[in-house]
């Protein structure tokens, strides 16, 4: 069962929820897809860590073979190539590594070279396998790292996979939720929180993913995110209070579901609710 945790902005509690659900589930894989600033490993403190480099393919030109026909420049939908002063210029950051220019070059003047853009780290923390994607600073897109993270055939078979998504609703998040069975949207109890919730809500609807919301940092009184969820008939999976004790545990990089009985019970129950939702949806499709 693959469960993605997402939110429209950073700091709403994606990592809190995905880390604690994975800890509560025990037989789980936790995948940190927030490759620009992964932080789940800070909580799990994985051991036996193995690293693997991730690279992409970028075209390079043999100038003596290039006839200046511009087939490649015309072909590239992302405009990663320009032909200036009788020289082909490649913009690595704009290139999406499709390889089309290499195929189209009639002079066979283009070849691909590998460019390392980041790495994947694999480790274990008790029963949980921890996978972390890291994009090198200054690289344009984390999508290739996420593809590697989610399609790693060497991953152990576990009952649950939790995908800690990057914030927002851009390409990188779409890549992260593509294969998810269920999406948990995390929301803050503010008007701004509603705006961010709406972004990811639109996204999961577009991807036709079953989804529910966890309301984080709940205070006494009005909760605009709860109201939004009720109005749109989005299942509220759970409410996490704006609690000093939880804040302290989290600030000290401790996993509440492992350190505190009350929160252990809370996340086990949240997991139970999510599992029921997933199964219910699965039977609704395949009765």
């Amino acid at each position: 069962m693959k469960i993605a945790v997402l939110s429209g902005k950073g700091g709403t509690g994606k990592t809190l929820i995905s880390v604690n659900l994975a800890a509560a589930a025990k037989d789980a894989i936790y995948i940190d897809c927030d490759v620009e600033e992964p932080n789940g490993y800070l909580f799990f403190k994985p051991v036996d860590v193995i690293s693997k480099q991730v690279s992409i393919k970028i075209p390079f030109v043999s100038e003596n073979l290039c006839s200046g026909c511009r087939e490649c420049v015309e072909f590239c939908k992302f405009n990663a190539l320009a032909y200036i002063n009788n020289k082909l210029v490649v913009f690595d950051e704009v290139c999406h590594s499709c390889g089309g220019c290499v195929l189209f070059c009639p002079e066979k003047a283009l070849q691909e070279k590998r460019k390392v853009i980041g790495e994947i780290q694999k480790g274990i923390s008790e029963d949980v396998t921890i996978i972390t994607g890291i994009l090198n600073t200054g690289e344009a897109s984390g999508v290739p790292i996420i593809k590697n993270l989610l399609h790693d055939s060497s991953l152990p078979l576990k009952s649950f996979t939790f995908i800690d998504c990057p914030p927002g609703s851009a390409c990188i998040v779409m890549e992260s939720i593509q294969d998810a069975d269920y999406c948990i949207l995390v929301a803050e109890p503010t008007v701004f929180g509603v705006h961010n919730l709406d972004m990811v809500y639109e996204l999961v609807k577009l991807f036709d993913k079953p989804h529910g919301v966890v309301l984080n940092k709940c205070l006494e009184g009005k909760n605009p995110a709860e109201r939004f969820s009720i109005e749109r008939d989005i299942k509220v999976l759970g409410k996490i209070p704006f609690d000093n004790q939880l804040g302290m545990l989290n600030t000290n990089a401790l996993i509440a579901a492992r350190k505190d009985e009350k929160y252990k019970a809370f996340f086990v129950s949240l997991l139970d609710t999510v599992v029921k939702e997933v199964l219910q949806h699965a039977t609704a499709i395949n009765p």
Partner: protein
Amino acid sequence: MKIVLPVDDKNMETDVCISFGRTPYFLIFDTESKESTFLANHAANSQGGAGIKAAQAIVDQKVDALLAPRCGKNAAEVISAAEIKMYKTMNNSIMDNINAFNDGKLALLEDIHAGFHGVGGR
């Protein structure tokens, strides 16, 4: 001398466009003959790399100078590789800027921004 400006429409009364890569038109102005030509910017709706494609089109027109309010890093790389000089426009008026350029009063465009990637819906 041939100079180019990103402009909002196909007439001399329109404004200088704030964007280089996604401007709807380019005005190519010959400072000797005073002849003006408007060129549709086919890069405007690109998924990505609009600055690069627009710059390629400008380079192919063999202009000597670009007058623009700002320019992204990739476009600037293409333009400077072609040894086209970049000048910073002083206001929205096409003629004000052409006159200032002729009088040597425009400063070189030096604040090259990192780009607004994704603006075009990449």
